[in-house]
């Protein structure tokens, strides 16, 4: 970036386009690598016999991971909602959700 600063300051469109294309290519490579790593990790786990683990291990792991995901979601939500009127709207919605659960 700093090597191209002079060319950018002179309004060189080719350098501008090249920098941007390089950024796009890096994004593409990063996305491909992360996706690939995820897929390979899943495949390795299956090969290592993760599917053959005792059902209770799988169930408890899924339950605790689900609980942690719920905690992350609620914590982020409370941060966005904040205090004051937002919290009052949130409480009203919560009451509505509980009422629907009660009725259903």
């Amino acid at each position: 970036m700093r090597c191209s600063a002079a060319a950018l300051e002179s309004g060189d469109v080719r350098v501008l386009a090249r920098l941007h294309a390089a950024g796009l290519a890096r994004d593409l490579a990063r996305a491909a690598i992360v996706t690939g790593l995820g897929l390979v990790a899943g495949w390795l786990l299956l090969r290592a016999g993760a599917g053959g683990l005792p059902p209770r291990v799988l169930t408890l792991t899924a339950a605790l991971a689900g609980g942690a995901a719920l905690a992350a979601g609620v914590s982020g939500l409370l941060r966005i909602v904040g205090r004051g009127s937002g919290l009052r709207w949130f409480a009203a919605g919560l009451a509505g959700g509980v009422a629907v659960l009660w009725i259903a």
Binding site: L8, G11, H20, G23, L60, A65, G67, S75, L77, A92
Partner: protein
């Protein structure tokens, strides 16, 4: 600077498409400045003039690629306004000031309107719909409505910026930006609150009693930890610890 007649048919579609990649060349020196320059460039081609020396064009392109940061959905407003100001003969310092002045408001407005409003509102609505049995239709509805909303916002921002030029402050007073957060934020809080018990019930429903209690405990403890030490305790670490505890506990329980 002399005033130059803006193109009768400005290439707004090309600029609009380029704006989708505005963050691709993000860097610590100029943040999204390079992406802004790339997006603005088609609008500036009319500055090359009949002589073809392109001095005004090159200077405008260089200014367009200077430091900039804002919400990606609203930065089209700055792109359009800066390009129009170049045609209107605004002095270079004024164009720079315009860009600098737009960074904060566009960032703050976009964060409130989209990241804290539109996106969580629709996510919560989709989750609630799934918990109530809507299935994949809810996912498709979320993708459709969210994308229609943000694409429309991006298009409006670009056109409003191009129409307003240096007087872009008027566009910032648009009802979309002024009253939008005031409507979306309470709606988001209401729908998020509504979604929470439904999502929790939906998540716990498939589990037998012991894992269901574990799930509830993990959620309660996780919220307490994340609220107690925000920033110090990360959601990712919490998730990994939960997985490790699940494997260890399940092994003992089997």
């Amino acid at each position: 600077m002399d005033r130059v007649t803006p193109p009768a048919a400005p290439p707004l579609a090309a600029v609009f498409l380029r704006l989708f990649t505005v963050q691709a060349s993000w860097n610590y020196d100029r943040l999204i400045g390079v992406g802004m320059g790339v997006a603005e460039e088609p609008l500036l081609r009319g500055l090359k003039g009949p002589s073809g020396d392109g001095a005004a064009y090159r200077a405008a392109v260089a200014r367009g690629a200077h430091f900039f940061n804002a919400h990606p959905y609203l930065c089209g407003l700055a792109v359009g306004a800066a390009a129009r100001a170049e045609y209107d003969g605004a002095p270079p310092e004024q164009v720079e000031r315009l860009r600098t002045a737009l960074c904060g408001p566009l960032g703050a407005l976009g964060d409130r309107l989209v990241w804290a409003g539109w996106l969580p509102l629709l996510s919560a609505a989709a989750i609630a719909a799934i918990a109530l049995g809507a299935g994949w239709g809810a996912v498709a509805g979320f993708l459709l409505i969210y994308n229609v909303g943000h694409v429309a916002l991006r298009w409006w921002a670009l056109r409003a910026g191009w129409a307003a030029g240096a007087g872009v402050v008027g566009a910032l007073r648009s009802p979309v930006l002024q009253s939008g957060p005031g409507l979306v934020l309470p709606a988001m809080a209401l729908v998020a609150g509504f979604c929470l018990p439904l999502a929790a019930r939906w998540l716990v429903r498939p589990f037998p009693l012991v894992p269901a209690v574990g799930c509830a405990l993990a959620a309660a403890l996780g919220v307490a930890l994340l609220r107690w030490r925000p920033g110090r305790i990360k959601s990712l670490w919490l998730g990994l610890v939960a997985v490790a505890l699940g494997i260890a506990g399940g092994w003992v329980w089997r």
